[in-house]
Structure formats: structure tokens, C-alpha cells
């Protein structure tokens, strides 16, 4: 696993009789932007859920090079332990907290870093105050970067879909993760917003020196962004390769893209 | 407030004397609190209409404490400190009494009649105010009644093995305590089989079956009001046919009305007894009560045991007033008056508060449900507890 940040090996999971992921293997290089595509119901989100241990895979291993440089198998870890290892995700169906403000939502991204005792928080002692302002400042920086600073103190409830998608992304950036996994980050964005998202993600990768694994159905977005793409169908691997290779792959065309006719 | 013998007390003017109580008159306890208070007020109305006592009419204030100790405290304070009543009449319910007993003792305000038979009121030697000299319990204490029931069971049915179905509340548990205490005194020949039910239980069949299975000699239904019909019907349904004894709280017409049909139709009849500290055979006093309730505009309470209790509470307070007629009306005089000589309870026996005795009434009669289940009939006249106990020794 020299230059790999993530290595998924022989991953399988079934729901009842349905094999949602079937003996799937792929790996991601350090610094790579890696796309996972496939028809609806192919098992993409399920793969994410297995990596972040929301689901416990029936079989297979998921090796991850953590913040400390060690390689660990994520299988069997608790869901809430994953982020501490340097792996963070967003969700297909936005999971933000409506009653919190935008900046508060983002601050939650640094939860594991916050180190004041309960007693300290009860009486808002120095440590708590320091940590609070440090983390709030970082959140505001990220918001600024994404052009959302003006809405930082607004509630999340009632924000348009596209903005919500961005807030979720911002939350994932609070901890300098090694690997960010994004489930359909561009869904609900219009073309120009999608374009700006491509740039944001590229910048993130450059500045933070991390890897990105994403699911997306917008092929322009995927092709414009990804170094490599993995296509799956019925939970099984279809093809792995560069965007050009994938686009040219006949199986992928049949299963997913459709023939270019119009 | 502290008063010396010639200074008039709070709540008293030349033409009025103000008294009050706090009682649950809403929620599930309204069924007890409302008729009880109506009884008190009806009695006071009767007295006031006749010109009052010593030229003073009685004013009655009451608050609804919802059976909640903290509200009871609030309203008792309000009565004593803000409304400045002369006395508390008919303090109502275990939590109310429990939470405010100390308060009453501290202030020294006279409190006449407590609508609960809890053991905390039982005091053979209340010689000082701090000790509870100002408190005058009238109703029988449940523990005492428990002992009495055992005596009755032995006397009427030669019982050795006493079954008890008791409710999980103050009445049930105190009665049980009295029964166990008496049975223990009687020695090894006598035993108790006890089964608990929740107040307002829906299903008492297992407890009834247990009684049947254990083949007890008599069954004590140690529960007040609503649960008693359930127990009786449960016993009938399970084909139990042992004599049943119950507490004075149930000795009224409304309670038996609720098992009358089942009882009348029961295949195996069994006698149902109850003690009664009110004895409805004194027709004159009963008529006065019925008239009083009618005049008060509540004829529907004319057969209600709680109204009767309230009526008696009113009577006791008024009798106390009569005893200090002509003297300065203050706490000390009033309390001394109460202790002066035994009271005759309207429709009932006697109570004596002399020398700090605070035991409630100890004399009761024995009633039995008539064959057709429609009424209580007197089996034994009002007698003192000790007389009855002596008989069975």
C-alpha cells in the first residue's frame, strides 16, 4: 500500500437476497480524485456506507492509511471512530441540522478535535472559550472560501438545495482529512454552480493535499474532475480507468451512459 | 400567632368566624372532595341560618390542592397566614395532611376533623401544642380499624385464617398493618394470607383465585370506594364464597349499588360486612342530615358517605364553638373546650379528646349487606373497640 490511501478488497454485502455489493475491489492513490459511477441501485452509496462502517460488510477488507501514516482495516470499527482516522464523508440525502446556523453546522465537523471537559464547558472556562473561538474561526475561513460567509449566521432550514450541498462539503473540510468521500455533490446544482464546484474540489485537493472519492451521475462533472473512475453495476466491478477509458468502455455505455445518439 | 386567654384570635369578628380547608375538589379525587366539602358547608349553612353561634356566622373558605403536597402547603399557609382563618375544618387527604401536619403544630391553629385515617394522626398523649394538642382527628384510624376487623371476623365466623385483599394505597396498607398486628397478638393459631391489588385495578381475578385456593376462612377487602365493587364482583366471578369484611369507608349506599346486581344473582351467596362509625339507625339525625343537604341544594348527596363525613366535620367544629360560648374566642380556649368532655358523633358513637387523646373514634357498629344486595343492615350496634376486643380474648 505504498502510495495508496484506500484499498477496498473483495467487499460484499447483501440485504435479504439482494447482493448490493458483490466482491468489489478498488484502490485510491494518495492525492487522487477518484470517481465511482454506476446505474441507480448499483451499490455506490452502499460502498460508501461500508467504508464509513454505517453498514457492516458481509465480507472483505477496507484498508486505510490513517492520519498517522499507519494502515488500518476499517472493517469492524465504530462509525464514529472513522472520522478520527482522517476519513470524512457527505451524504446523498443531505444530513444537516436545520435548527443550527450554517456556521454551527460546520463547527460540528471538528467535533473530535474539541478537547474541553464537561465541567469546563458547564462553566465556560478558558479552555472552552479558546477552543470555541479557534474552531469558529476555522469554520468561517472555510465558509469564506466557498463564498458562503454572508449566510453564516442564518439557519440551515430554508436554504436552497444547492447551498445545502455546499455546506455539507464545508463541514467535511474542518479536520484536514486525508480522504473525503462525496455522495453526489453536484446533484441539484445547475450548470454554472456545478462548474464552480469542480473548481472548489480541485482547490481543496491541492491545498489540503488529500484524496477524494466521489459518486456522481453528472458525467461532465466526473470527467472534468476525476483522475480515475470506477464503474460498477449490480454491485460488481465493470471497469476501472481514466475518464477516457471509461467513456469508451462499451459495457459502461450499455449499462450506464447509453449510446451517444443525440 | 400566639394568643392568651382573653385576646381574641385571628379570623374572629363580632359577627363572623372564618374557617377553611384545602381539599382535592378536581381531578380524580373530586368524587370524594366535592361531596365532603358540600357536607361541611351544608352543616354551616344550617347553623348560620339558625343565627350562628354566639352571634357569629361561620364563613368557610376552601382551596383545591389537587392532592398535591406542595399545593397543600401553599394553601394551608394561605389559610393560616393570609386569610387568617380561625381554624382548619376537614383537612383532607393523606398527602395534604402529611405535608402540613408540622405546619399546623408549629402555628398551633386548631384543626378539627381530618379526612383520612392515616396513622400519623394517632396520638395518645398530645399534651402540648407542638405535640399536636390542637389537632382533632375524628374518623377512625385505619390501623385501629384493621384490628377491629380481625375481632369481628373471629366473633362472627370463628376465623383462623384471614385472607386480605388490600389496595396498594394508604387505606389498604394501614388496614393490613392493623390486621397483621392483631393476628400476631392472637398467636400461632391465626394466620394471614395477603394479596395486593392496585387501586382502580381492572382485573382482580388472580387475587380472588388465590383466596379460593388457600381456602381462607374470611376475606377482608381492605380497600376504599371504587376498588371494592371490583373485588366483590371478582370474588363472585371466581366462585369464592367466604364471608367478606370491609372498611367503614365503604359503608354507604352508592358503593353497594355497584355490585348489587351481581350479588343478588350470585350462585353462592356470602355475607358482606362492614364497620360503620356512623350508624344510620338514628333516624332523627339522619333526617337532619338529609334535610341539611337538601337545603344546601345538594339533595343528590343525601346518601353520600363523604357528605356525611363533611357534615360530621362541620358538626365537630360547631360543637367546639358552642363549648366556648360566652368566653373569648381564641385558640387556647377553643382547644380546651374540645378536650372538656366526650363528643357524641351525629349518627354515630363517641370520641373523647380528654388529656391529649387523639385517636379518632374507636367505636363502631357492624353492618351487613342485605340478601338482595340493596342496603346495609345493622348486625351489631356501636361499641367501643376495647369492648369488642375483650370479648374475643
Amino acid at each position: 500500500m505504498d502510495n495508496k490511501v484506500l484499498k477496498v478488497e473483495n467487499l460484499s454485502i447483501a440485504f435479504g437476497g439482494l447482493k448490493a455489493v458483490d466482491n468489489l475491489s478498488f484502490d485510491i492513490d494518495e492525492g487522487e480524485i477518484f470517481g465511482l459511477i454506476g446505474p441507480n441501485g448499483a451499490g455506490k452509496t452502499t460502498v460508501f456506507n461500508c467504508i464509513t462502517q454505517f453498514y457492516k460488510p458481509d465480507e472483505g477488507d477496507i484498508y486505510f492509511r490513517t492520519n498517522t501514516g499507519e494502515v488500518e482495516n476499517l472493517v469492524g470499527k465504530k462509525t464514529h471512530e472513522i472520522i478520527g482516522k482522517g476519513l470524512v464523508r457527505t451524504f446523498q440525502n443531505i444530513e444537516l441540522i436545520r435548527e443550527l446556523t450554517v456556521v454551527e453546522n460546520i463547527m460540528v465537523g471538528a467535533h473530535v478535535e474539541f478537547k474541553a471537559s464537561l465541567f469546563n464547558q458547564f462553566f465556560r472556562l478558558k479552555k472552552t472559550r479558546q477552543e470555541e473561538s479557534r474552531i469558529r474561526k476555522r469554520a468561517e475561513e472555510i465558509l469564506d472560501h466557498m463564498g458562503l460567509l454572508s449566510i453564516k449566521d442564518m439557519l440551515v432550514a430554508g436554504q436552497p438545495y444547492g447551498v445545502l450541498k455546499k455546506i455539507e462539503l464545508a463541514r467535511a473540510l474542518m479536520l484536514d482529512p486525508k480522504l473525503i468521500i462525496l455522495d453526489e455533490p453536484a446533484a441539484g446544482l445547475n450548470d454554472s454552480e456545478t462548474l464552480s464546484l469542480v473548481n472548489i474540489i480541485k482547490e481543496i485537493k491541492m491545498e489540503r493535499n488529500c484524496s477524494i472519492l466521489l459518486i456522481e451521475h453528472d458525467m461532465k462533472f466526473v470527467n472534468g474532475l476525476c483522475d480515475r473512475i470506477c464503474a460498477i453495476n449490480f454491485g460488481k466491478l465493470l471497469a476501472i480507468g481514466t475518464p477516457e477509458e471509461i467513456q469508451g468502455n462499451e459495457q459502461v455505455q450499455i449499462a450506464y451512459l447509453g449510446k451517444e445518439d443525440d | 400567632g400566639c394568643t392568651t386567654s382573653n385576646e381574641i384570635a385571628q379570623g374572629v369578628t363580632d359577627t363572623t368566624v372564618k374557617v377553611g380547608n384545602t381539599a382535592a375538589t378536581s381531578g380524580a379525587f373530586a368524587a370524594v372532595g366535592v361531596p365532603f366539602n358540600a357536607g361541611i358547608e351544608a352543616y354551616f349553612k344550617m347553623v348560620n341560618d339558625a343565627g350562628g353561634i354566639d352571634g357569629r356566622k361561620i364563613e368557610f373558605v376552601h382551596y383545591d390542592d389537587e392532592f398535591d403536597p406542595i399545593k397543600a402547603t401553599t394553601f394551608t399557609e394561605q389559610l393560616i397566614n393570609d386569610d387568617k382563618v380561625f381554624a382548619i375544618v376537614g383537612h383532607f387527604g393523606t398527602p395534604t395532611i402529611g405535608a402540613t401536619l408540622d405546619l399546623l403544630k408549629e402555628t398551633g391553629i386548631p384543626a378539627v376533623y381530618f379526612a383520612a385515617g392515616i396513622a400519623a394522626l394517632y396520638n395518645e398523649d398530645a399534651t402540648s401544642i407542638e405535640n399536636g394538642k390542637g389537632l382533632f382527628p375524628v374518623q377512625p384510624i385505619y390501623v385501629t380499624e384493621g384490628r377491629l376487623i380481625v375481632a369481628r371476623a373471629i366473633e362472627e365466623h370463628n376465623a383462623k385464617k384471614v385472607g386480605v385483599i388490600y389496595t396498594n394505597d394508604d387505606a389498604g396498607k394501614d388496614l393490613l398493618a392493623g390486621i397483621e398486628n392483631q393476628v400476631e397478638k392472637l398467636g400461632a393459631d391465626y394466620t394471614v394470607v395477603k394479596e395486593q391489588v392496585n387501586p382502580g385495578a381492572t382485573d382482580v381475578s388472580s387475587q380472588a383465585l388465590k383466596m379460593k385456593n388457600e381456602n381462607v376462612d374470611v376475606i377482608v377487602a381492605a380497600s376504599i370506594q371504587a376498588t371494592l365493587p371490583t373485588i366483590i364482583k371478582g370474588l363472585i366471578a371466581q366462585g369464592v364464597n367466604k364471608p367478606v369484611f370491609t372498611t367503614y369507608s365503604n359503608a354507604d349506599a352508592t358503593t353497594i349499588a355497584n355490585f348489587q346486581t351481581d350479588y343478588a344473582n350470585a350462585a353462592n351467596k356470602f355475607p358482606i360486612y362492614s364497620n360503620a362509625w356512623v350508624d344510620l339507625s338514628n333516624q332523627e339525625e339522619v333526617d337532619q342530615f338529609v334535610q341539611g343537604m337538601t337545603d344546601f341544594g345538594k339533595p343528590e348527596y343525601a346518601a353520600n358517605a363523604f357528605s356525611m363525613a363533611g357534615w360530621i366535620a362541620g358538626h365537630f367544629f360547631v360543637e367546639g364553638l358552642r363549648r366556648v360560648e360566652g368566653e373569648t374566642l381564641n385558640w387556647e380556649n377553643y382547644i380546651n373546650g374540645m378536650e372538656k368532655e366526650p363528643f357524641k358523633i351525629p349518627m354515630g358513637g363517641t370520641v373523647d379528646f380528654a388529656n391529649g387523646k387523639r385517636l379518632g373514634t374507636q367505636s363502631m357498629s357492624l353492618l351487613k349487606v342485605s340478601e338482595d344486595g340493596s342496603a346495609w343492615e345493622v348486625v351489631k350496634p356501636v361499641e367501643d373497640l376495647n369492648v369488642i376486643l375483650d370479648r374475643i380474648q
Binding site: F15, G38, P39, N40, G41, A42, K44, T45, T46, Q92, N93, G158, Q159, P160, Y161, G162, V163, E184, A187, G188, L189, N190, D191, S192, E193, T194, L195, H217, M219, A255, Y256, L257, G258 | -
Partner: protein
């Protein structure tokens, strides 16, 4: 051609936020009309108002000449206006089949019901395979298909689609647009909200572009498709 839907000077507020500041929209019977616009422009709000979920501050909504501004949602639905709402709002704890049954709530005829099931299952075969699966466990795209299928079950006269292509694979997206054209052929009028502007304009007859609560521009789809500068301004990016 009859006017199927007529919206006049419609204003809708969320508390003190003015989401719609007076819009006029007209949809002719048998047309496919697109409602485009940036995030937060008020497209969803418009559809929700048509369905009767929101109250108008002023203005009116007419359906074949009848004023439905104040009708409750279920009355509006039973008149034949059925919506596939934004963000896959399926009945999460019911099965796929039950979801579709509810879509057919206004259908009385058994045979028609069966036909509709067959039709929806032929559009989205995966739904037939999953008919006993609990909807919340479907994949995102499957839920989206279910939401669209459910709307079709009621034989709408006017079908409201809020971002139907959201989260669907390219192949299915193409499919969806074919389906929309097909149901129009069966006589259903369609009002569609989409981010995928160009593809939408390809099938639409007419389009409105919303701009923060107002109609910024409107025209035949063809006109708009060729007006590349406007597309850039209102929809962003060109292809």
C-alpha cells in the same frame, strides 16, 4: 388551445421572506412547459402553491378556468393536478407497491389501476423487482423513480415534476425525458422544473425563467435554446 393552468400575479411568503413576488404563468393544454431558474429562485415554491400546500399572499391560480387558489391539496389532486415533489419524498416506511397505490388514490376503476401499474413498471422495471421493498431502503435514484412513477399512477391531467432527473443515471435521465414526451402524447399537460436546462428545453414547448421570485424571461423553448447569452445569464454555463 385551452389554457390548462393560469397563474396571475401570484405572491407567496415564508414568514417574512417573500419567495414569490408576483408571477404570471400560463400553461396551455397538452404543452410541456419548463420552469427554470437558479437555486432559490422560487420554482419549488411555485409548484407547491399550485398543489395547494402553501397559501398565497395574493394572486390566483386557475385550472381550466376554475379558480383553485384556495382549494385544499386533496381537492386539487382529485381535479387531476399531481406532483412529483422535490427531493424524493416517498412514503418512507411503506413498500414500493403501497407507494404506487397511494399515487392511484384518485383512480376508482380497477382495470385502469392495473393498466397504470403496468405502465409504470414498464417505465421503471426496477420498481417491479422491488415492489415489496420498504421505500426508505431504496437507492437514491430508485426513490426518485418511485416518486415519478407514483405521480403517473393517478393519470394526471396536469403533471408537476420538480427536478425529476435529480440523482438519476444518465441513461435513466434520457429515459425520463422520453417518458415525459410520451405521456404528453397521451394528453397529459406537464409543468417541469429542472436544473438540466438544455435537455429540458429540448422537449419543452415553452419556458419561464424565474429570478428571485419573479419571472425574469419567458418564451418558446426554441427561442430560449438559441438565445445563448440569456442562457448564460440565467442558467449559467453553456454547452
Amino acid at each position: 388551445m385551452n389554457e390548462c393552468l393560469g397563474i396571475k400575479n401570484l405572491k407567496v411568503n415564508y414568514g417574512s421572506i417573500e419567495a414569490l413576488k408576483g408571477i404570471d404563468i400560463s400553461v396551455k393544454e397538452g404543452q410541456i412547459v419548463a420552469l427554470l431558474g437558479a437555486n432559490g429562485a422560487g420554482k419549488t415554491t411555485t409548484l407547491r402553491k399550485i398543489s395547494g400546500i402553501l397559501e398565497a399572499k395574493s394572486g390566483s391560480v386557475q385550472f381550466f378556468g376554475e379558480d383553485i387558489t384556495k382549494l385544499p391539496p386533496h381537492k386539487i389532486a382529485s381535479k387531476g393536478i399531481i406532483q412529483s415533489p422535490e427531493g424524493r419524498q416517498v412514503f418512507r416506511d411503506l413498500t414500493v407497491e403501497e407507494n404506487l397505490m397511494i399515487g392511484a388514490y384518485t383512480i376508482k376503476n380497477k382495470k385502469e389501476l392495473k393498466n397504470n401499474f403496468d405502465r409504470v413498471y414498464s417505465y421503471f422495471p426496477v420498481l417491479r423487482e422491488r415492489k415489496n421493498q420498504i421505500a426508505s431502503t431504496l437507492s437514491g435514484g430508485e426513490q426518485q423513480m418511485l416518486a415519478i412513477g407514483r405521480a403517473l399512477m393517478g393519470n394526471p391531467k396536469l403533471l408537476l415534476l420538480d427536478e425529476p432527473s435529480l440523482g438519476l443515471a444518465p441513461l435513466i435521465v434520457k429515459n425520463i425525458f422520453h417518458i415525459i414526451e410520451e405521456i404528453r402524447k397521451d394528453g397529459t399537460t406537464v409543468l417541469i422544473v429542472e436544473q438540466n436546462a438544455l435537455q429540458t428545453l429540448k422537449i419543452a414547448d415553452y419556458a419561464y425563467v424565474l429570478e428571485v421570485g419573479k419571472v425574469g424571461m419567458e418564451g418558446s423553448a426554441k427561442e430560449l435554446r438559441n438565445n445563448s447569452s440569456l442562457i448564460e445569464v440565467y442558467l449559467g454555463g453553456k454547452n
